[in-house]
Amino acid sequence: MTAGLWENWLLPGVWITIQLTLYSAVFAAVVAFGIGMARTSRLWIVRFLTGFYVEVFRGTSALVLMFWLFFVMPLAFQYQLVPMWAAVLALGLTYGAYGSEIVRGAIAAVAPAQREAAIALSFTPAQRMRRVILPQAIPEMIPPFNNLLIELLKATALVSAVSVADITFAAQLSRLATGDSLEIYAIILVLYFVLAFVLTRLMRLLERRAKAGIGQAPVKSGKGPLVTRKLSSRQETEQSSNIITAGGAQ
């Protein structure tokens, strides 16, 4: 292996992957909170439209959506996105739809009595959401968001298909140049694993801080998984809602 491989291809690729993950995660979080809260709206039309959005983007294949944004959008709407932003858009819209289910689930899991107490104190609906419901719901969202973030990180590899020079793209180039597939793919698999590990550690830190902020001790995961939590985000949302209803019936 030459030093040039790292300096010229892999390190810039890692940087692109980190940027992609970060931008897509921020975009997806905005979508998730927007859609997730809108799905609890009193207006049926808002619930219907946001529900439609979620079903469409959960039903979509992220890779197909990426190709669509990359090839069809410029032709259909005369608007060419920079590949990087087409990728962020595709990932953010898709994972935002998944994330909105987490947000909705966590909001629904806050004890109804908390809402009633907030009504009894004459908070406006917006104040109820901001001051009472969300501060309790957000710590419960972090573990499933962690899973989703790892899924998002893995999905960033798809962008290599639309010529964004991420880690996977760098590996392709390197393979073509050197012909050595084993080494390069082994290296980048480890790179992804390390990134996933770091992300998970960061999210754990966030979870601990968030839980401390509401007077709860952080939950120790006893089974000792090496990196991530075990269940799919959907199941974990349900699981955490069970925990809330069982434990926090204040």
Binding site: E116, I119, A120, L121, T124, V132, Q136, I214, G248, Q250
Partner: protein, 267 residues
């Protein structure tokens, strides 16, 4: 927002503060309140008693707008609660109108319902600051006074989960009082407490009943407490008031057969 900041107490002139007019509430095919009429005068302490399922708690939840009546109207201090008077016609009220009327009412819940994400002091100051528009300093000063009143002056910085049930309920009472309500609704406030913690909470409420002129509407199973603080006792059965009067009369010589049965079962 400044409407509630003048600190004069509501006039205790015996005027009608709460009025239910032909209120009906159904859950599915089950009629919980049946054409209910009743009123509470300003400054009075009224206790609702009756078998469970008789609609007592429903009255409190209607007043707190946690439920909407199917028929009839509710007035608080002369204003319609769930309706608005638009050019002589009654229309369902918007959120804003309802909130303005509801600000006169405070509620203490069976399960306390403190906000677990906020420390004790902030539980009490949050609504006065953000709903009534009090300054943070003023709200905190008031909150500390109220915590002293309920005997928890040293618990400002605790989280609710660090307190016993009785302490949580006393914080919840302080939180309701901090909104300077004209009416306090007490919904079986001791039912979720361990027996040895009940007395502390009732003492605080007795104190408030005897030293302030806040109107109180209580649902309780503590008959001694009801006898002690009530001006009036209303006996409920099957969605109707079947008997009412001063506690001495209801508890010693009830007229209605159902009242006698109920009292002999609980006393």
């Amino acid at each position: 927002m400044a409407t509630e900041t003048d600190h004069t107490n509501p006039a205790v002139d015996g005027s009608e503060l709460i009025r239910f007019d032909q209120v009906t509430k159904r859950f599915g095919s089950n009629t919980v309140l049946d054409n209910l009429d009743f009123s509470v005068s300003s400054g009075k302490h009224v206790t609702l008693i009756g078998p469970s399922g008789s609609g007592k708690t429903t009255i409190l939840r209607l007043l707190m707008t946690l439920l909407k009546p199917d028929e009839g109207t509710i007035k608080v201090d002369g204003d319609y609660l769930t309706h608005e008077d638009k050019g002589g016609k009654l229309v369902p009220a918007g959120e804003k109108h309802t909130r303005e009327v509801r600000k006169k009412i405070g509620m203490v819940f069976q399960q306390f319902n403190l906000f677990p994400n906020m420390r004790v002091l902030r539980n009490i100051t949050e609504a006065p600051v953000h709903v009534l528009g009090l300054s943070k300093d003023e709200a905190e000063t008031r909150a500390r006074e109220l915590l002293d009143l309920v005997g928890l002056g040293d618990k400002c910085d605790a989280y609710p989960t660090q307190l016993s049930g009785g302490q949580q309920q006393r914080v919840a009472i302080a939180r309701a009082l901090a909104m300077r309500p004209q009416v306090m609704l007490l919904d079986e406030v001791t039912s979720a407490l361990d027996p040895e913690l009940v007395a502390g909470v009732l003492d605080v409420l007795r104190d408030i009943a005897h030293t302030t002129d806040i109107t109180m509407l209580c649902v309780t199973h503590e008959m001694n407490f009801a006898r002690d603080i009530s001006d009036d006792v209303l006996m409920f059965d099957a969605g109707r008031v079947i008997e009412s009067g001063p506690p001495e009369k209801i508890f010693t010589e009830p007229e209605h057969e159902r009242t006698r049965e109920f009292l002999s079962a609980v006393l």
